[in-house]
């Protein structure tokens, strides 16, 4: 499991190029990362890292940086 997996999850779920997946990228600031894509992203992250995120995580996951922080809590090493 790696940074690359995380970037792949974002790029595929949101339908954006991998270069666009930076720490600064924020939820709801690009049309591709809307509430529908957000649930797709959550499912992708859960599959890729074999974790179960809870409802607070979904609401807190407001940026790529924040996603890394949350995944770290599930002892995912990036």
């Amino acid at each position: 499991m790696s940074q690359a997996t995380l970037i792949k999850c974002f790029a595929e779920s949101l339908g954006i190029p991998a270069e666009q997946v930076t720490d600064e990228l924020q939820y709801n600031t690009i049309p591709q990362w809307d509430s529908v894509a957000h649930m797709t992203l959550i499912a992708a992250l859960e599959d890729a890292f074999e974790i179960m995120l809870d409802t607070d995580d979904i609401i807190d996951m407001s940026s790529v940086a924040k996603a890394k922080e949350i995944l770290a809590r599930y002892e995912v090493t990036l």
């Binding site: 709801n28 809307d34 509430s35 529908v36 649930m39 499912a43 859960e46 179960m52 995120l53 809870d54 409802t55 607070d56 979904i58 609401i59 407001s62």
Partner: protein, 359 residues
């Protein structure tokens, strides 16, 4: 700008008693009064005309129908992030709710805080009593689509029970049940859809599903069901008889106040959470009514800062039974909704205002 940390830090969304609510909730609402007075010209004009009329004990409650007639906003156009729209069940006109990022974020967060109280923190396998096309067009969600998406946060393995032709896809539903056998499941749908396309169909075909141990959450109004003599107790009986569902929570909320919803407790009463309040207004005098008397429902919410929807006069009739003393043990006012005010009577309370503020 609209800091709700105090509310978020409470143990549960039903923590505040009447005295605390008076202090915290109402001072927060007053701040929003001033904010909208300052940032929304139309709100300011309605506020002054209501004050002149001496309505609501000098508080201002905007008639919800104004959101169908005007785009009311208290933020600069460049800060508008999304405009929620909904068509009412009885009207062709669409409500337009202007959201900035902050208000939208509060809406999601408060909905989570409230629903976690009933569903827990972990996301449950989710059965949606609707068809998947309802969320297909991402650019223009219906209110139904938006509601389903909002509630999807609480689920995993989202499974739609109906096909596009509104028939139950029994194979899919059975597979879902088998997959999650013995685990709690979260079922969500709109009241009428759940009744008409799920419970009724199961009942008439004599089929039974094993959804014991699951939680059914539903919303969307009883109007169509009351017309066919189905009330909350009948609804619950059929939920138990066809699917073995014992835990059913209806909720009352409106598109003008997404997030701070009023959920039905274990004793069958809708409850005001810490983030919101409810008052009953006499449609003739426009004054508050005491507990136990039926009148027009007015709802308050600390969430809306991008549009002046923090205090609203609805077109629904209800009765508040008390505050902080519901047998379920939760704080807050508890109430029942009886349905819509008959159309003719609504004039006077909202139409006159609409007429007064026409630019």
């Amino acid at each position: 700008m609209n800091n709700l940390d105090f509310f978020y830090q409470q143990q549960s969304p039903y923590s505040l008693n009447a005295a605390e609510k008076q202090q915290v909730l109402h001072s927060h609402l007053s701040v929003l009064d001033a904010h909208h007075q300052h940032h929304c010209e139309l709100y300011r004009r309605i506020a002054s005309s209501q004050a002149e009329a001496g309505w609501f004990d000098q508080q201002v409650f905007l008639p919800v129908r104004l959101f169908k007639e005007y785009e009311l906003k208290s933020v600069a156009q460049e800060d508008v992030f999304k405009v929620l729209t909904s068509s009412g069940t009885t009207s062709q006109q669409v409500s337009r709710i202007v959201l900035d990022r902050e208000t939208a974020a509060h809406q999601s967060k408060v909905l989570v805080k409230i629903m976690q109280h009933y569903l827990g923190v972990q996301r449950l396998p989710m059965l949606i009593i609707d068809h998947p096309s309802v969320v297909k067009d991402r650019l223009s969600f219906s209110a139904r689509g938006a509601g389903i998406l909002g509630l999807s946060t609480f689920g995993r393995d989202h499974t739609y029970a109906l096909d596009d032709d509104m028939q139950i896809n029994l194979e899919r539903v059975q597979a879902f049940i088998a997959k999650h056998q013995g685990k709690p499941v979260f079922i969500f749908g709109f009241t009428f859809m759940v009744w008409q396309y799920f419970f009724q169909v199961l009942q008439q075909s004599g089929k039974q599903l094993d959804l014991a141990g699951s939680v059914l959450v539903h919303s969307g109004g009883w109007k169509k069901l009351i017309d066919i003599a189905v009330d909350n107790s009948v609804f619950k009986q059929v939920a138990a008889a066809t699917c073995g569902i014992q835990r059913v929570h209806n909720f009352y909320g409106m598109v003008e106040q997404v997030g701070s919803i009023f959920v039905e407790c274990s004793h069958g009463y809708l409850h005001a959470p810490d983030y919101a309040d409810i008052d009953i207004i006499d449609a003739q005098t426009m004054q508050q009514l005491p507990f136990g008397q039926q009148g027009l429902i007015a709802v308050s919410s600390v969430l809306p800062s991008s549009y002046p929807g923090h205090r609203l006069l609805t077109e629904d009739l209800g009765t508040v039974f008390g505050e902080d003393d519901c047998p379920c043990g939760l704080n807050g006012k508890y109430f029942h909704v009886h349905g819509r005010l008959p159309k003719a009577e609504v004039r006077g309370c909202s139409d006159t205002h609409a007429a007064e503020v026409k630019p």
